[in-house]
């Protein structure tokens, strides 16, 4: 995995441990929780899009499947939170396989449209299966996460839960990237023709990484459901998928760290822009536009590059 990445992981660990000592208050801690949740999804997207070169405009669907599995199974069927979580994970993986087999035969724009359609279908299911999901008015009273008798009720508890989980996911992702599987994914992105000439089973690897990224989104969704305790279909609509994509693109998808930074920035940015009152969305748009225009590879790569260009 490389010394560099271990140092970065260690750095994150320290920042995560120290942050709550400086950042106090439920409001700020909950933003940090959302940062972590979004990062999980975006890191999965980074593996899928940045490394393997496959696009998804429907990842909110897997985020939603995780959240609704946890919500529905715990509130209506008396599942334990763990079995609900695992069911969500399996369901997301299953849906990803069933969808992935036909959809991943498509490329570029076609795959984008297909995944967008999948997101919409799942969104409609959340809306229409009122008996299970509560329909548009949402699902409430989702129990908090707990380990034995230890209940997670405070933001600070979720903060540690989310960031420790995220830490494990980052570690897993970095290991995958620096392995035979990761090289096969990158090779596929570079040249499908050459990758298959190297014995890489393209469709198997595409489905594998699609399922993996769906699982990341599902894990994030389950934790999200426990944390907010109320979910509605609108949390998992097309805009959410687009937001995940924007986070990835802004931070830089060809890089796990970029995905992390992008998710953190885009989660935090709207909160910073509150001071601008009604103009916040305008400034938000302007910032996104600037990043995409001047740092098409994301700001993690882009900012150092701009520095080199103008200060050297």
């Amino acid at each position: 995995m490389g010394k560099n990445n271990y140092l970065k992981l260690l750095g994150i660990l320290i920042v995560v441990a120290v942050a709550p000592l400086i950042i106090k208050g439920d409001y700020y801690l909950s933003i940090l929780v959302f940062m972590g949740i979004n990062s999980m999804v975006v890191i999965g997207l980074s593996l899928l899009m940045g490394y393997a070169g496959q696009i998804s405009l429907g990842h909110a669907a897997f985020f939603g499947i995780g959240a609704y599995s946890t919500g529905v199974l715990t509130t209506q069927f008396g599942f334990s939170i763990y079995s609900a979580f695992l069911s969500g994970l399996l369901l997301s993986a299953g849906v990803a396989i069933i969808i992935g087999i036909p959809a991943l035969r498509l490329k570029g724009h076609y795959l984008a449209i297909a995944t967008l359609g999948i997101g919409e279908i799942v969104f409609i299911i959340f809306n229409e299966m009122i008996g299970l999901t509560g329909g548009p008015s949402g699902l409430s009273n989702i129990p908090p996460f707990h380990v034995g008798n230890y209940q997670f009720t405070l933001s600070i508890q979720y903060y540690y839960l989310v960031w420790v989980t995220l830490f494990v996911l980052i570690w897993f992702s970095l290991n995958v990237i620096h392995s035979r599987v990761g090289r096969a994914l990158k090779a596929m992105h570079g040249s499908e023709l050459a990758a298959s000439a190297m014995g890489v089973n393209l469709s198997a690897h595409k489905i594998q990484v699609f399922v993996l990224s769906a699982c990341y989104a599902s894990i994030a969704g389950s934790i999200y459901a426990h944390f907010v305790s109320f979910i509605a279909p609108n949390n998992f609509a097309l805009m959410t998928s687009i937001m995940f994509l924007v986070m990835g693109v802004v931070g830089g998808l060809y890089n796990i760290w970029g995905a992390l930074m992008g998710a953190s920035l885009i989660t935090f940015l709207p909160e910073c822009l509150r001071v601008f009152k009604d103009f916040d969305i305008l400034i938000y748009g302007a910032i996104l536009l600037m990043i995409l225009l001047f740092m098409p590879e994301g700001f993690l790569v882009g900012i150092p590059a701009l520095f080199r260009k103008y200060f050297k």
Binding site: F172, N175, R180, A184, S191, A194, A197
Partner: protein, 260 residues
């Protein structure tokens, strides 16, 4: 040489693109340890032939045998794992990956680690990763590319990219290597290096099928040559014979009788 076993054989191989007959009815044999070249004018169907053998294009009719087994209809990655590897006319490296990683990708068919053992860095994966890295680095040393191991492959000059592509193909552990114009665009010195590399591949017991327009290279390294034109074989034999073959000369220069 002729006593060696057959490694590749085609029987009445045919490929039609739309209405265009790219390969008409091609039957030939390649024996183990040979360097066999395929020459012919542009558009003769040479690269198409390679794409049929490696499974990139499906055949229209005919059969391809590799070590006695029919391989047409198999997916490219399956054929690669059976032991046929190729390099491309237009270099197809993975440009964003490093020089070393490109060679490491080549080890894919000879390694096992899956998603879980990679993600959790299980002991057998770590062990496998180590030999892949060591062996690939060693391979780079054979052609003097070790200092450039961590550069992106896309940043190498063309000559080195072509050599890297061959190294990558060799990493798959092939029994047969298909080289599509390895000397195209290379200068004299680089071409000489390429010839040496081709010999060293053969000396390791790997059979080579070569497409090349540089005739001095072809005549020097080949054991046997097949000449094709309009998807049909017009001559086959050792270099000395091919050089003086009337049909070959006509195919390349145009026959005098045509204008009579």
């Amino acid at each position: 040489m002729t006593t060696n076993q057959l490694i590749l054989k085609t029987e009445h191989l045919q490929k039609v693109f739309g209405g265009l007959m790219a390969i008409a009815s091609l039957s030939f044999e390649v024996r183990e340890g040979q360097i066999k070249s395929i020459i012919g004018p542009n558009g003769a169907g040479k690269t198409t032939l390679f794409n049929l053998i490696t499974g990139v294009h499906p055949t229209t009719a005919g059969k391809i045998f590799f070590q006695g087994k029919v391989i047409n209809g198999l997916k490219p990655y399956v054929i690669a794992r059976l032991g046929i590897s190729m390099t491309f006319q237009t270099v197809e490296l993975f440009p964003q990956m490093t020089v070393l990683e490109n060679v490491m990708v080549g080890c894919h068919p000879r390694s096992r680690a899956g998603l879980f053992s990679s993600g959790f860095r299980l002991p057998h994966m770590k062990k496998e990763e180590k030999w892949i890295r060591d062996e690939s680095f060693e391979k780079l040393g054979m052609v003097g590319l070790q200092e450039k191991a961590s550069l992106p492959a896309g940043s190498l000059p063309l000559g080195e990219q072509k050599i890297l592509e061959i190294l990558r193909a060799l990493s798959t552990g092939p029994k047969l290597v298909l080289l599509d114009e390895p000397a195209a665009g290379l200068n004299k010195v680089e071409t000489q290096k390429m010839a040496d590399l081709i010999y060293s591949i053969r000396d390791r017991g790997i059979t080579i099928l070569l497409i090349e327009h540089d005739m001095s290279l072809v005549m020097k390294v080949s054991d046997e040559i097949i000449v094709i034109n309009y998807g049909e074989m017009i001559a086959e034999g050792p270099p000395a014979l091919i050089q003086n073959d009337q049909r070959v000369i006509e195919a390349y220069l145009g026959g005098e009788t045509d204008y009579a």
